[in-house]
Symmetry: D2
């Protein structure tokens, strides 16, 4: 079997990172990315020397790109003709329209969290339900918060069994580079239950979940607190042991300097990661406390990059590259270099 050929629709915050992620998978080929206008992301692609071919979606004005000297490899249709599967990170709602094109072209697709669940055959998470996605044509990834949350809950569930979770999402309100979407000196609350709790139940139907979401004026990383009720009493030691084994969970400590979400962003920048991204969720060892028979802890969700590994898993499932979650996630982790570092007492 040759390399799986992948395209990316929508070269925004997520699309850029999906393209970079695919480019690192040695058993995949990134054919190109598609977008609409010469955004900052496209300008940066050009300034970097066009490492990825650019295709234009319907409605784009090619003249604008010509004027700037940005080379265009073809139309969206051209791209669809060259790939086995599309990663659709177009703005919310566009994915559903694109699906018609994907069906016509006879290719598969993975949609990001902004689309409705009905767009896909399976609402997918690389660890929690990989096998349901194997061989399917259309997957939808969980959103950033849900992806990270499920990693942690699924981790405890596999180790000890989980019956119920109550979550509090302390949500970053905007991405770095956003304007006028934000909050200024305000915490905003959504109607409960949060969609992330509902989504968790869709992926893990044996777990009862609810939660409250509060928006906060920061740009780097959601923090979620989880109160989990195990099938058995889960102690702090038991929880910590399970979390430390998970390649996509990075256990950190306040005394080591990880004081909050900004530390994790700073650390990823200092690691030299592209864009200061981190694929792992952070989990504070110091936050783990027992609440009667329940266990409580806090995780950090790097919202821009956390879904990239699970999307790679999705390609592996949909294309049948690996049959099980264990095999699929291991390949993704290998190529993205996730979970290799085991020093510093972690």
């Amino acid at each position: 079997m040759g390399k799986v050929r992948v395209g990316v629709a929508g070269y925004g915050t997520i699309g850029q990172r999906l393209a970079d992620g695919v480019a690192l998978q040695e058993d995949m080929e990134l054919v190109g990315v598609a977008d609409m206008a010469p955004t900052l992301a496209i300008r940066a692609l050009y300034e970097k020397g066009m490492p990825y071919d650019l295709y234009l979606v319907d409605g784009a004005d090619k003249g604008e790109f010509d004027k700037l000297g940005i080379p265009v490899a073809g139309t969206f249709q051209d791209l669809l003709g060259k790939v086995d599967i599309m990663l659709d990170s177009a703005p919310a709602g566009i994915g559903a329209k694109n699906k018609v094109l994907y069906e016509k072209a006879g290719i598969k697709a993975i949609f990001q969290g902004g689309e409705k669940n009905s767009v896909a055959d399976v609402f997918f998470h690389g660890y929690a339900n990989y096998e349901k996605g194997v061989g399917k044509d259309f997957l939808k990834l969980t959103s950033c918060n849900t992806t990270g949350l499920i990693r942690a809950v699924d981790c405890l569930d596999r180790a000890y069994g989980v019956d119920k979770v109550a979550i509090t999402i302390i949500r970053r309100v905007a991405d770095p580079g956003d304007y006028h979407r934000g909050l200024t000196n305000a915490l905003q609350i959504d109607k409960a239950p949060s969609h992330q709790a509902v989504d968790l139940m869709t992926i893990m139907p044996h777990v009862e979940a609810t939660g409250i979401l509060v928006h906060t004026p920061v740009t780097h990383g959601h923090i979620i607190t989880v109160v989990a009720t195990g099938k058995q009493k889960i102690t702090k030691e038991m929880a910590l042991e399970a979390f430390q084994k998970h390649p996509r969970i990075r256990v950190v400590r306040i005394d080591d300097g990880f004081k909050g979400n900004a530390s994790l962003f700073k650390y990823a920048r200092d690691l030299g990661h592209t864009r200061g991204d981190m694929y792992e969720i952070g989990l504070w060892e110091d936050s783990i406390v027992e609440s009667g028979n329940d266990i409580m802890f806090a995780i950090n969700i790097p919202q821009e990059s956390v879904t990239i590994p699970e999307t790679m898993d999705g390609i592996r499932a949909a294309m049948g590259m690996q049959a099980t979650s264990a095999e699929g996630t291991a390949k993704t982790n290998e190529y993205l270099k996730i979970g290799l570092f085991k020093g510093l007492g972690l």
Copy 2:
């Protein structure tokens, strides 16, 4: 019995509001306030025409006040000689030193949350343990978050019984007017369990409590989510019914315009409340959800003013003005005009 004579030590964020609160109690007399330096709060007092007499604590430079034309009524000792009880809102740690002076002067005192519990005979909350404070010499008030949290938990506990709570405190990091104490684009996490959970257990020893605290870069109002396990199953309707009856809990709805903590501050400003203060905690009806047999909800803590009513309760208890929580809190509520409004479907 004549009016109880009250003094205030420390005319800062809390001290100003304590003074205003005492001035509204018809069975109390505010003798004066004491401070150290011509701060903005003292300058504002002067610009308002000195509604309260000002006394200077040891170490203050009276010349500084003279130069500005700010009249001084006497020394801290002078003030202690004229009062029955002091409200001590001096910076953390100073209260313990002041206690020696209070003992010498043969007067009672109520300390704010910054002091150690050992400074006082009773760690006090107007609803949860009023009777323990009756006749005592030295009380310590719960901190702002704990005061508001206990209101809500005690409310459910009295109505239905509560065994256990797991809380997430989304803490405002600075008060309006603070500089360089704050966070900028960061969420900071403290080691769990949060002191507020521990404090709750001191006041309500029959409840097991734990929690996680996250600092956020805002100035108006902490938000706390609570997962409470009742002695019986508490439904949303049961919780709502109890909360709506509580005079110091203001039940609000997102659709009415109460989108977050900034709405509650705006509303208090629009009500014409002095400083835009609110004595009640806010509780979002839309946040109440059932989690199995647990009940989950979110409250807003107006950090600058929430402890004022319970401190008035404390005076009532310590001075033996009313014998029970029901009587004491009712008097405080009457004079502070809390819980009178019953319109707008609340």
Copy 3:
């Protein structure tokens, strides 16, 4: 002459303050306020016991108000029939539509800064061009930044003559209580020149003005730096002397505790001002520096309340209550209690 009868259209951030301002003018009568929906501001009006009569504009659903028990005094037309002049603080663009109704009703009106200049006969400022507004039917107030800026520039201009200003506006991005209009961890720049510089030239055509505006993620008070070129060299002492005499300029010092815009908001709250509002602009004595023959300084604009006095001036001008700026502004200042305090070395 009886009291001038005034109505307010739009009971939002500005409208509430206009109503409060009119209510303080002893030679005016606030007939009522008009709005569209039971917003938080209207709910607060109701909770306060309806100090002002409420009229409903076209398109409002009276049933909504009835259901909440909020009394309605009549329609917008009813209000127009009872007043001599309307203060129009409806959302931007609505004022132009309302003007047709005002003309039909044969009444005058003053529009706020959001409307186009063409809506009015005169673009008005109480100090800089009061006389142009005398007897006119339709005035438009300068926006908050322009109002405060002109106070300072006009002050120097009257004292010493000003030829040219270059301004930098450090703009607060949202009002307290706003959501999702804000910035999060970003400074945003507008195309130069800023409209405030252009507006200043419309009001003060003998001054050349330009400037740059940068939005910042704060809610309390714009800061503007001004580089002014005088007709003569203006020294720091000369500037300070002029500023200190101006009733609507409050000269403050960093060492006194006025460290930034948050101090001014805190101070107004501590003064007991309704909503923590301040009518004066702040001007930092420590910011005044000479730049060759130019003079440079920084002012603080309390965006929610700064235009209220100049709007009262506008009523006085349009209704011919006083013939000159000196007389009109003096009456406004008297009733709003502006500029009375002269202590603390100011």
Copy 4:
């Protein structure tokens, strides 16, 4: 001549970037970095596989590093014995103490902006006074704001002559990853004139400079507005032409998506720059306006990385590697790949 051997003292925000910068200079060798404790930056260095040797300064506890498995190459004295020049980015004040060690070791050093000017023979800027630094033993770099500001002012000065500048610094208050240094919902003002204006005059004594600094609650990039008085009238076109030619000034436009400082950070991240750093200052074409005979414009200062190129210039000057600013800055630019991109109409 062999490669110049360079060490870095203090592996913090600046030190990390200095080390990375030296490592890119083909005519220099980075011998190692020195620090005190296993900070996040050191942990990241270890997780990256120790690309740079680590030396420990006096007072460091080697046992702490051993316990974590972090290899240590030697003591600070060991490092000093192997280098020709040290880049001192130790906390403010430590550099002066280190100087004694440098003198004993007979090596040169370049101090960062936190030290007093008296620590060095020359207060240095790569463009404005390179030649003064040639062959000197101790240089002190201008601070981040001053470095960027001087680039722009020197650029105009060389092209057309500049007599006077009045600046407004809109300062980011903390770096990403800082806690509790920040502002929350406040603008804070410093006493004028700002030190950056004074520093500019030290470097460019023929220019008169003053200015006002306002701190804002953001982490990515100061914005400075400059009102410059030329020896001749400088038009917008003249200014733009000069700026566009400068390799360390990146001219950007709002309509291209560069809406503020967050866009520049986002763009650098999307370019794949390590840590999302940018060496160039941003200059908004849309901000350039004429103010009478003065020219006004706004620049963006990427505070974490802007001084890196000028520090490389400083090594070249102190070590006599190149004799002139033109030659020295050209070598630095070549190795840091600055100013190469000329597409997109820039």
